[in-house]
Amino acid sequence: MFTKFEHFAATSLMGSPKEAPPRQNGHLQFDRAWEKMAFGVAIALSKQGHYEWEEFRQTLMATIAEWEATHDLDDPEWDYYQCWLATLEKLVVSSGVLQAGELETQMTQLLDCKAMADPSA
């Protein structure tokens, strides 16, 4: 019995070390600002009913498996939140929150703005 969706969502990820988010001293550990954003958005969208949390979990595990199939297990480039972000991208499209390609367009615009703002570019 969980009284809060956030509690349920985080607890359901604690089943194996691979699928569980990094933690330190009982707290979630975020090394970069975008990790927090990706974490919060993923939980919020499921809480709003755009997809089942179990669907996110299964897709996350499949994404991690995809990484493992294409990299050495001790590859230093391993990055939990890259897998999390890839999962979130799949879910926003499969659930119909965004159209395929919409995110890429928005991102290209953001990156172009950044390039224009950088005089050395």
């Binding site: 809060k4 509690h7 001293n25 009982g26 919060g40 991208e89 926003v92």
Partner: protein, 207 residues
């Protein structure tokens, strides 16, 4: 076989790429009215301020300064939680009981659990990786003194070690002993000394 997903490719651009992608996602979702600028803060706020080891630390610190509260905490942990100004739902729903095992000069307590849902979340926050490790659990039960020593907890041979296995019904955690040298400290100062590890029984509290 290389992956087709750009976030999996190597290179210095990966960070810029990921940060831009998340930023793009957030702005699109806000534009479409799916989320607001506060949504993510609300989700994270739950983990940062509502449920976590800070709750357990406050309960223990109060028990250290208030013998009547300590009695309540040891005999009825959920009632002790209710006596604090914790967020709603903190003391657990039906069938979810937290119990605290009190460390004394004679008895040292350690918790283990077999299911992820058995960790006393509201007071200790998220469990560390090793806590779920079957090897850890098996070894704590078999040779607790050796495992504790690996954690840096050296106990006198005369101290009895009790291992508490949490279940879906009862979630155990540990009331550590108040360390010497803390006589003049406030509850807030005392709470700052506590770690999740100390409240799991794999560390002691020191100043």
């Amino acid at each position: 076989m290389p992956s087709n997903y750009p976030g999996f490719r190597y290179g210095a651009d990966r960070e810029t790429f990921s940060a831009a992608k998340v930023k793009a996602l957030e702005s699109l979702l806000i534009e479409k009215g799916v989320i607001t600028g506060d949504t993510v803060d609300t989700v994270l706020g739950y983990f940062e301020t509502e449920m976590g080891p800070f709750n357990g630390a406050r309960l223990v610190a109060r028990a250290w300064v208030d013998p009547a509260f300590k009695e309540l905490l040891v005999t009825d942990c959920n009632a002790a939680c209710e006596a604090m100004d914790f967020p709603e739902g903190m003391s657990g729903a039906e069938g979810e009981h937290m119990r605290i095992a009190e460390n004394t000069p004679e008895v040292h307590n350690v918790i283990v659990c077999t299911l992820c849902s058995c960790y006393p979340w509201p007071t200790l926050g998220l469990p560390p990786y090793w806590f779920k490790d079957p090897t850890f659990r098996a070894r704590v039960v078999r040779e607790p003194r050796v495992v504790l020593s690996e954690f840096g907890v050296e106990l006198d041979e005369s101290v009895t070690i009790k291992v508490w296995d949490s279940s879906a019904q009862i979630r155990w955690w540990v009331l550590p002993m108040r360390p010497p040298g803390t006589e003049g400290m406030s509850e807030t100062e005392l709470a700052a000394l506590l770690t999740p590890e100390a409240m799991m029984g794999v560390a002691t509290v020191s100043v």
